[in-house]
Symmetry: none
Subunit: 215 residues, 2 copies
DNA sequence: ATAAAGTCCGTACCGGGGTACGGAGTAAAC
DNA sequence: GTTTACTCCGTACCCCGGTACGGACTTTAT
């Protein structure tokens, strides 16, 4: 099969196949020695279909490709596949929660908004003018701030080490203590250099979801 | 106020302000005639805060800017603001529905998935249909390289996630699978972009000692 | 034999929301 | 008066999932 036939069979565009090849999600068959067009095995069609299926379940292409490679190994176990799905479910749940919070806020604003009148009467407009709940307004003093973070997903002291390293590497962090038993961390930092939210973001990009505990 | 002071007051980075200016979301004050730094009015701080607030309600920056311009006109009516919010709510509802469908599919698959056994028993895998072993046809082009790493100190699947993220973030890495049981990882990467040794260094700086396993 | 269709390959671009870098100029603090 | 911090400006890059273009080539259909 040529690339065009493969694309039609898989229900995608030719450019999409080339894109997947560039990204390494599918193998690129070699060009025939005598010259001519590349020939695609029918397995490629199947693989593309599987990638799209997994995409439909919320997986990114990279995750989908990992999943397929994971499952096509001879010693593949159900647990490893299941694990990926569980992770993805948690991911989806998190996004649902975020979106639900946004929806709740919008619904509430719309309920209290009069349908007419000047813009200043509109509750949506008023909500925008409210100061942020977490505004980092600071004086000119640079007193160290103590922040407590609740960290999800730490399960062993390897995690503790990673989390501690990530926090200490952050500019503005003076010292931090990470507890495995309650999943929390106490960070001493300069609030002018790094906000608690920034610390949480740092951990998120390291792989741990963290929230600021107000005490 | 200079740009840095404005950024601190608004709780964003300097680069963010410049980005907003480039995108036309905020006005860019003219440079003083005698030369020197641009001076920002305090209204800019307010505008940035409003933009971020609207972002938090689910609006894109472009929508947020439109909303602000809409509301700050003298003849602004509550209806026009309200209308934008209603549209956004519909948008949020649509995304919630899509995400809910994905969640439903995942939950159902996980319920019927046995916790052990070969991958072929896993309902998630079955949902993706047949395996169709990814045939390793090697061409003459620079094909991705498969590297196996032995990683010390991984003790839970949180570690697995961190290691996987760290590897996938490395340029040149196409995908990787991390196994908790044998402490190894299989990485597919472009050898021209990133060497196996470089991968090990990456993990070391993440907090895990890794060695390349020759197979 | 020739025209139409298909392929190859590199490269650039879309939208969304920024971050990062580097060299030069400027302002402020000590 | 020197050092340090800050600003200015252009440009490039990040993720994600592709789409588009253009010139040269190859295959197929008539």
């Amino acid at each position: 099969m040529t690339i065009g036939q493969t694309a039609r069979a898989a229900g995608v565009g030719v450019e999409t196949i080339r894109f997947y090849e560039r990204q390494g999600f599918i193998d690129r068959p070699p060009k025939p020695l005598g010259g001519g067009y590349r020939r695609y095995p029918s397995a490629t069609v199947e693989r593309i279909r599987l990638l799209r299926q997994a995409q439909g379940l919320g997986f990114s292409l990279r995750e989908a490709a990992t999943l397929l490679d994971l499952g096509s190994r001879p010693d593949a176990r159900a647990e490893s596949i299941r694990n990926q799905a569980v992770q993805k479910l948690a991911d989806v749940d998190r996004r649902l929660e975020e979106l639900g919070a946004i929806r709740g806020a919008l619904v509430e604003l719309l309920q209290t908004c009069p349908r007419e009148g000047p813009a200043s009467c509109c509750s949506v407009w008023q909500a925008l003018s409210q100061p942020a709940a977490h505004s980092p307004i600071e004086g000119n003093t640079t007193m160290p701030q103590h922040t407590r973070l609740a960290i999800e997903g730490m399960q062993c002291d390897g995690c503790v080490r990673v989390v501690q390293q990530a926090l200490e590497r952050e500019p503005g962090v003076q010292r931090c203590i990470v507890y495995l038993d309650n999943g929390q961390s106490e960070v001493t930092h300069d609030p002018d250099v790094v906000t608690p939210e920034r610390l949480a973001e740092t951990l998120l990009s390291t792989g741990y979801r963290a929230t600021v505990v107000s005490d």
